[in-house]
């Protein structure tokens, strides 16, 4: 979790000045590298090298069994011009992002607001709401989800519509709800952000006659916007890469009728089921570029809606 990336509204006290400076800088750096070496080695061998190989393979027809042949951009042109299922997976993924991310952030914010105003038992409820995020990463909960939304499951019994996961119009929603339910991480971050907002702002607003809703819109939302932005970026990136819930809930096939065939699931299908590793690598690189572009757009848009408290001093 990279919570340190939250733009901190308060200035840090100058800790560096108080740190004792006995040893020469170069030697301390050397020791640092030694201690970092497991991580650096791991990052190089497990991330950098495989990424480079994947970039190379994306220009080949590698099928796991025969040596890869260089085919230039054919994987990319096939993807964009000859593969209707590729585009269906793109649309499905966008639908998923648009459903899951706002729902998840809204729920996280509502629960964080409720927790903030609680008097007792806050620690208990915070843990209770966070628990699904820990469970959610596991395959088992996704399988439970499949049972819940399958025909003959509790949702079918309650609503009597034959279960969601076998209806192409509803199955993606069942997958998205599994993600939404894991709102613990953004909730904890929201809660931290809410507690940073100075109480005197609310007191002053109350004196001026502002109601709860007015306070929320004029104080909470702008003061919380950096945290909201951080959560939005993080959850959007994660949503584009969603795999486990779609894989488990659809039984690994992205069905029914390709309705839960999200991008990474189709990538997996191409790579490990159909043995087109070159094509799958090309898909992975396109996804990386698209996520980069979407993140850049979010950052650009943030200038117009994210408010940093320190800006007020300028």
């Amino acid at each position: 979790m990279t919570t340190t990336e939250i733009p901190a509204p308060t200035a840090r006290p100058g800790r560096a000045a108080t740190t004792p400076k006995h040893r020469p800088k170069r030697e301390r750096e050397g020791a640092a590298w030694v201690f970092l070496s497991p991580w650096v080695l791991g990052a190089c061998l497990l991330t950098v090298v495989p990424m480079a190989v994947s970039l190379y393979l994306s220009f080949t027809d590698y099928n796991l069994f025969d040596p890869p042949h260089w085919i230039g951009l054919r994987n990319y042109t096939q993807m964009f011009t000859e593969d209707p299922r590729y585009w269906r997976s793109v649309v499905t993924t966008l639908e998923y992002v648009v459903i899951a991310v706002p729902l998840q952030l809204a729920l996280a914010l509502v629960v964080a607001l409720a927790l903030k105003s609680m008097k007792g038992g806050k620690a208990f409820y915070r843990s209770a709401f966070y628990a699904p995020s820990l469970l959610g990463a596991s395959m088992s909960i996704a399988l439970v989800w499949r049972q819940v939304f399958n025909d003959g499951g509790p949702v079918d019994n309650a609503l009597g519509n034959g279960g969601w996961i076998n209806k192409p119009g509803w199955s993606l929603l069942a997958v998205a709800l599994l993600t939404v339910w894991q709102f613990g991480a953004p909730m904890v971050i929201f809660l931290a952000g809410l507690q940073q907002i100075p109480a005197e702002l609310y007191e002053a607003a109350a004196v001026d006659g502002a109601g709860k809703w007015r306070q929320f819109l004029s104080i909470t939302v702008p003061m919380l916007s950096p945290v909201l932005f951080f959560n939005l970026v993080l959850q959007t990136i994660q949503a584009f890469q969603v795999f486990t819930p779609a894989f488990a809930v659809s039984g690994g096939k992205g069905g029914p009728a390709d309705s839960t065939l999200v991008y990474t699931l189709y990538l997996y299908d191409r790579g490990f089921v159909a043995s087109h590793m070159g094509y799958a690598s090309a898909m992975a690189w396109v996804l990386l570029l698209v996520i980069g572009a979407v993140t850049a757009v979010l950052f650009r848009s943030s200038r117009s809606w994210v408010f940093y408290a320190s800006e007020g001093d300028r």
């Binding site: 040893r23 020469p24 030697e27 301390r28 050397g30 020791a31 030694v34 201690f35 070496s37 497991p38 027809d61 099928n63 796991l64 069994f65 025969d66 096939q78 000859e82 209707p84 299922r85 025909d151 034959g162 279960g163 076998n166 209806k167 192409p168 039984g251 690994g252 096939k253 069905g255 029914p256 009728a257 390709d258 299908d269 490990f272 089921v273 159909a274 043995s275 087109h276």
Partner: protein, 428 residues
Amino acid sequence: MPGHRTKGFCASAAALALCAMLAACGGSGESVGGGGKVVLRYAWWGNPDRATLTDKAVALFEKRHPNVQVQTSYSGYDAYKQKLAVQATGGDAPDVMQLDYRQINQYANGGVLLDLGKQKAVLHTSEIDQGLLATGKVDGTQYAIPQGRGTETIVYDAKAWKDSGVPLPQKGWTWDDWADDMRALAKKTGKPGATDPGWSEDGFEVWLRGQGKSLYTKDNGLGFTADDLTNWWTFTDQLRREGAVSPAEQTTQLAGFVENTPLARGKATSDNNWDAPASGYVSFIPTGIALAPMPSGEDGTPGQYFKPSMFMGVSANTGHPKESAELIDFMINDRDAAKILGATRGIPVNETIRKETEGRLKDFDKTISEYQASVDGTLKDPPQAPPSGDNALQSTFQRDYDQVSYERLSPRKAAENYITEAKAELRS
């Protein structure tokens, strides 16, 4: 560097040394075990009951070959297929591996498999039906040995069908007879007569062969046209609309295991499947199931065929080709091994052993054996091993039919999509 060693540096050096020690503790796989024994790795897919019997047989093999130690491992089919592909590409395939008909071409052409023809001295194949044996050949080379024999069947709830008053399925029935029976069953029982067979590439193949065609041509091209597939899907789609076969919501759940089928869930009276896995229905339908032949073409041409239910192959990288071949010979030709294994991998391929064991088979093993005997000699030769792309096309077939049964695409449009995808898959 300064001459004096600081505490920080010493600590980091110690940390590195510890890491090195940890790394050194990790064991390394060696093909020669303790006491100079030859160690073979043998992997297969299957259920725990198959594992118990296999381990028993392997123990007997080790007793007969004191210099050989066999390490076994197994998992479910999907997981097995993916793991084996990764191992094989890394040059680390198990010495002896179980293979599916759909894998043979890819693995043989990829140089993963050893030419077993060179191991004739220890691996005997003379008692295996030659047509069946040929299914393990790629370009004339014997890369794999079939281990069991299976054929497709219509499996049905015997009591429910009898009680409905619809005449029981007869040998030589056609697809039209079958369709009429499904309609009659649906009317009498109030639920679909069968699983919608449109999802299944295997079902389509039987229908296609009944017309004298095939899935693939000799040179691994497509053996049928968009018209053929449109006809098949129009046929099944019509039955689905009439309620004679299962609705889309049930058909889409099929994933190659019995629990998901409408028959096992009490939502249909029959299903089409391979005969050996049909034993899985027994626990769901306590009143009993029965097996009938697959429907044939209009002129009586049978579409089903005897297929090797699985193969055994040897890794091209094995250090012990002779011992590996001995293990295969033992599993296929040894009488005592056959006694232990029963029909866990289908009916034995060794003709002598098959005849000997026929009388001793019990319960559902006996049903399968009798069913196979009833169609033996009337079926045509099996097709050659499917091309490598077929592995992926099997799931593409089901996906494309989903679009038909959910009424998102017409049979014609979905069939055209499939042909396009299949051509791309077979070209690459």
